[in-house]
């Protein structure tokens, strides 16, 4: 999904991937409180579960529009998930935002190479998450490949470069 579709009234299917059930709940609460148009919010505890969720969605004729994905998870981490998602072409048009408590995590670079469009650093407010999501949807509409730093930075870097930090 891109910003044009969202602006026309389309609502989003969202997948939250994080090994912390607390953080999944917090993120869903933040999403719902951010005034975004949401159809469905699904959760997965690791990359392997997330792939299964995407496959099930496809079997139901649906796809994810937005994926919020932690980096460090057991069983399959965020980079592994993105790589496998790309290989299997599961919801390939979903906007992917990595979630991290460590904006200088070297794995963010690998995530960008595997299709992550940006990241948001914990802690974040509802407004910061909303701003990040809408800016990435705008980037998707513009056909951009910028890996955006989050949450409040306006600095943009080309895909594959080191993520900027606040």
């Amino acid at each position: 999904m891109d910003l044009r579709e969202y602006s026309r009234g389309e609502s989003m299917n969202v997948l939250i991937v994080d090994d912390s059930s607390v953080m999944r709940r917090v993120i869903e609460g933040v999403l719902r409180g951010a005034g975004l148009k949401l159809t469905e919010v699904l959760q997965a505890g690791n990359g392997k579960e997330a792939l299964a969720v995407l496959e099930k969605m496809i079997a139901q004729g649906k796809s994810a529009d937005l994926i919020l994905c932690d980096i460090h998870m057991p069983v399959m981490d965020g980079v592994g998930f993105l790589s496998e998602r790309k290989r299997r072409a599961l919801s390939p048009h979903a906007a992917v935002i990595m979630i991290t408590a460590d904006p200088s995590d070297p794995l963010l670079i690998e995530a960008a190479a595997e299709g992550g469009l940006g990241y948001i650093a914990k802690p974040f407010t509802s407004e910061q998450l909303r701003t990040r999501i809408l800016s990435l949807l705008r980037d998707t509409a513009e056909g951009g490949g910028a890996f955006l730093a989050g949450p409040a930075s306006s600095v943009r870097q080309t895909t594959g470069g080191a993520p900027s930090t606040r």
Binding site: S20, S21, V22, M23, T100, D102, S104, K122, P123, T125
Partner: protein, 153 residues
């Protein structure tokens, strides 16, 4: 460290959290720890008494369906808190720390004073040369406080 701690509470929970003086003995029920490895090597620990840990969990998740959030959710909450504090601290160290990595959180339930005293391989008692700070995040909780400890490895 104070800024990293305050940032988490002010951003995620919209409430202040300030460092305070420790005036009494402290008996944690939970200890969450994260190891920073690479150019900077350290261990960051967050320690909470049970009632304050439950209150923190409710602050993040809202009231539980039952009398209190179960210990799995409480432990998860403390792990996430430790993760955000360690990440915020590392971010503020700047370039020397940027190539260092954070481990996943490890959370321990501290069952006894004996376990606290002898470490029992799980809970690490006070260490020499550690940075130890006490914090309070809600004045309604009277003397309840939590600790953040940072040890250089």
């Amino acid at each position: 460290m104070d800024v990293a701690v305050a940032d988490v509470f002010e951003t995620m929970l919209a409430r202040p959290c300030a460092a305070i003086q420790e005036t009494s003995a402290f008996s944690p029920a939970f200890s969450a720890r994260i190891t920073i490895s690479g150019s900077v090597r350290a261990r960051c620990m967050v320690e909470f008494p049970l009632s304050l840990a439950e209150k923190l969990t409710a602050a993040f998740l809202g009231p539980s369906d039952g009398p209190a959030w179960d210990e799995v959710m409480v432990a998860d909450t403390l792990g996430e808190l430790c993760n955000m504090i360690a990440g915020g601290f590392k971010k503020r160290l700047g370039e020397p720390a940027s190539s260092s990595e954070l481990s996943v959180p490890a959370i321990s339930r501290i069952e006894s004073q004996a376990q606290q005293r002898n470490g029992s391989g799980i809970y690490a008692g006070p260490e020499a040369d550690e940075l130890r700070r006490a914090y309070a995040f809600d004045s309604d909780f009277d003397d309840e406080r939590f600790l953040v400890r940072l040890v250089e490895l």
